[in-house]
Symmetry: C2
Subunit: 355 residues, 2 copies
C-alpha cells in the first residue's frame, strides 16, 4: 500500500504521486522474514524483484546493473565507492525510472510529463520509448549541451524552459494539468524510491553494513532510497541499526544546510532549493545521528580531479560526496577508522565539454 | 603456462607478448572440474577470479562490472544484448585491461607503452595511474575530440600520431624499443584475452548457450575472448558445443572478409587492417561454422539509430553487430527462431559530438 508520510493515510498500491493532504507517499509492504531467501539468480537489478512493487510482466529494457564497488583507503577511512554512474544511461536514476516505468506500463499509462536537470530526463527518455510511453521532458535551458544532445538522440519530446530548476518544475506541472497528462515527478514518486532502494541491498551484499552513508541531496531520491533500503534490511533482521546518513548539498542550493549566498556552478544535479521530501530527509538525519554538509565549487573541482586521476570518470555533482568526506574527516565527525559508503551518482562522459 | 598458437612452444606464465617465432600466445591452465564450484560471492568480475591468471594481491581499481543483458525480439530471433559499454571506462576493454594491469603490478613493471584507437587507451589510462604505472598512450590524430578530452582529464601521457591505425601501431613499437619500455599491446597480449573471456562466463550464466555470437572484429580482443570463454566452459563440461561465431568488420578495413574500396568513417573502433591474431580468428570461424560480415556506414547509422531509440546509448562501432544480424537474417544464415548474443561494446557518451 501507499502511506502518507505526513498524515499517515493509506492508499491501495496504484500509480499516485501524493496524498490528498499534500504529503508525500512511501510504499509499505509486508517484508519476507529473510532477505537472502528472496534473492533471484539474476545478475542485475532483478535480483531483488521480490522486494519491488512490480510484476514480472511489465519490466522495461534496458535492465539496470548491479554496480561494482571500489574499496579505497581515503584518509584512514575504508571507503567504498559504489559506481552508480555505470547504469545504462549513466546515472543511478535508472534504478528508479525502471520501477516507475514498469508500474506505468502495468496501469496502461502511455503519455507522461517529467521535469529534470538532465539525468532523470535522459533516464526516462531511454526507458519510456521502448516501453511504448510518450514522455514530455522539461529541462532548464542551462542544461549542459552534452545532455541536451543525448536527449535529442534518444528521440525525446523535449521542452526547454528558460528559468531556474524550480521554474522548470512549475512549468511541467502546469503543462501536465493543462493537457490532462500524468505527471510522474521523480521528486515525489513513491515507485522511484523503490528502485533506488536496491542500491542499499547491493551495497549490503557487497560490503556489509557501513558506518556512514554520504549521498548527494537535491530532491533526495538516492538519499531516501538508500535509507529505505537499509531500513528494510533492518526490518528483515539483516542489520541491527542503520548507518549514519550524511546529506551533501551544493553551495547556494541548500535546503537542509544553511543557505550560502554563493551559488555552485558545477553541481547541476543537486541545484534544487525546495525538495518536496525535505521533512523526510530531516527525519533520516535525526534518526541516524547524521548531518548535512554543503560544499563549494573549489572543493568539488578538487575532489573531481582526484577521482578522475584514479579512473573514476564521474560528473561534478558526484564528486561532492568526496569533498564532504574530506571535510568531515577534518572536523572529526568521521573518525579515521570508519567504513564509509560513497555512491558515485553520475557519469562524467555526458558533460565533457562543460568542465 | 603461455602457449604459442603458431609453433606450440610453451613458456612459464610471465608477462610476455609473443613467441620467439613471432606467433601469438594464449594462456593454458588446468581448469577446475566444475565451473559453478569456483564462482566467488563477488557481484563483479572477481566472481571468476579462480579462472584468471592473477592473484588476489594485485587487483587494480575500479573493478569491472557484471554487465546486464537485455532480451529483445529482433526479426524473430531471441536477441541478447550484452551491455559491455557499462564498464567503468565505457567499453568492454576494461575486462582485459584489469587483468593485464594486475599482471604488470605482480611483475613490478611500472612504465609501459600502448597504442589504441581510443577506447583501450582510455581504459589503460584509467586503471594504470591508480596502480602506480606510467602508461605512454599512442593514439591516431583522427581520434574523436571527446575521447582525447577524456584522456587528458585522466592525466594520461599522450602521444598523438598523424597517420592511420597501423602507423600508430608501428610508432608505439618504435618508441617502446627505443626507450626500453614494455610494450603491452592489447592486440596480442595473452592476459588481455583472459579478461575479455569473462564476458562469455557471464553470458552463459545469464542466458545459457546462444546459437550465435556476433562480435565486432578489429584486433579481435572481444571475439577471441568470447571464443576462449565458451571453449573453457566446454572443457569444464558446462556446454557440449560452441556457439557459431560471426565476425563483423567495417567497410574498407576488412581482414577476414573481402576488402571493400569504401572506407567506413563511423566504425573507428575496428578500423584495423592487419590484426596479429588473424589466423586464430579464421580458425574460430572454421571450428564453429561461422562467417564474416562487413558492414557500411549507412547500415551502421541505421542500426545505431534503432539502438538509441530503444535506450541503448552506444557508439557507432557497437551498432555494427545489429547491422550484421539484420543482414544474416535476410540472407537466411541466421534462422528466425535463433538465440543470438550481441555484445554492445562501447559507450556512445564519449562521442556525442562526432555523429
Amino acid at each position: 500500500m501507499l502511506v502518507c508520510s505526513k498524515c499517515g493515510r493509506e492508499y491501495p498500491e496504484e500509480f499516485r504521486l501524493t496524498c490528498e493532504c499534500g504529503g508525500t507517499l512511501l510504499i509499505r509492504r509486508e517484508l519476507p522474514p529473510d532477505f537472502s531467501d528472496v534473492l533471484s539468480g539474476h545478475l542485475d537489478i532483478r535480483r531483488y524483484l521480490k522486494l519491488l512493487p512490480v510484476s514480472d510482466d511489465y519490466l522495461p529494457e534496458p535492465v539496470p546493473a548491479i554496480t561494482p564497488v571500489s574499496k579505497l583507503d581515503i584518509g584512514g577511512a575504508t571507503t567504498f565507492l559504489k559506481l552508480e554512474y555505470l547504469q545504462p544511461t549513466g546515472s543511478f536514476k535508472d534504478r528508479g525510472t525502471w520501477v516507475m516505468v514498469a508500474k506505468l506500463r502495468e496501469e496502461g499509462i502511455s503519455e507522461v510529463v517529467l521535469d529534470s536537470s538532465g539525468n532523470a530526463a535522459i533516464s526516462l527518455a531511454a526507458f519510456a520509448r521502448g516501453a511504448g510511453i510518450k514522455a514530455h521532458l522539461f529541462v532548464p535551458l542551462r542544461t549542459s549541451q552534452g545532455k541536451l544532445t543525448l536527449l535529442e538522440r534518444l528521440g525525446a519530446e523535449l521542452h526547454v524552459v528558460n528559468g531556474d530548476r524550480m521554474t522548470v518544475h512549475r512549468e511541467a506541472i502546469r503543462f501536465s494539468e493543462g493537457n490532462a497528462l500524468t505527471y510522474v515527478s521523480h521528486w515525489v514518486n513513491p515507485y522511484f524510491l523503490e528502485g533506488t532502494k536496491t542500491a542499499a541491498f547491493e551495497a549490503y551484499e557487497q560490503l556489509g553494513l557501513p558506518d556512514y552513508v554520504i549521498a548527494p541531496v537535491g530532491s533526495g531520491t538516492l538519499f531516501l532510497g538508500l535509507w529505505k533500503g537499509f531500513s528494510e534490511l533492518r526490518s528483515m533482521g539483516k542489520i541491527d541499526e542503520l548507518p549514519t546518513f550524511v546529506a551533501v548539498q551544493a553551495s547556494g542550493y541548500e535546503s537542509l544546510c544553511e543557505r550560502s549566498p554563493v551559488k555552485s556552478r558545477l553541481a547541476e544535479g543537486i541545484a534544487i532549493t525546495e525538495p518536496p521530501r525535505l521533512e523526510e530527509m530531516k527525519a533520516v538525519l535525526e534518526e541516524t545521528g547524521g548531518t548535512c554538509v554543503s560544499v563549494g565549487d573549489s572543493e568539488i573541482a578538487r575532489a573531481l580531479k582526484w577521482l578522475w586521476e584514479r579512473g573514476f570518470m564521474v560528473e561534478p555533482t558526484s564528486a561532492t560526496v568526496l569533498a564532504a568526506l574530506w571535510r568531515l574527516q577534518k572536523s572529526g565527525f568521521i573518525p579515521s577508522d570508519s567504513r564509509v559508503l560513497l555512491p558515485l551518482t553520475g557519469s562524467g562522459l555526458k558533460t565533457v565539454e562543460g568542465i
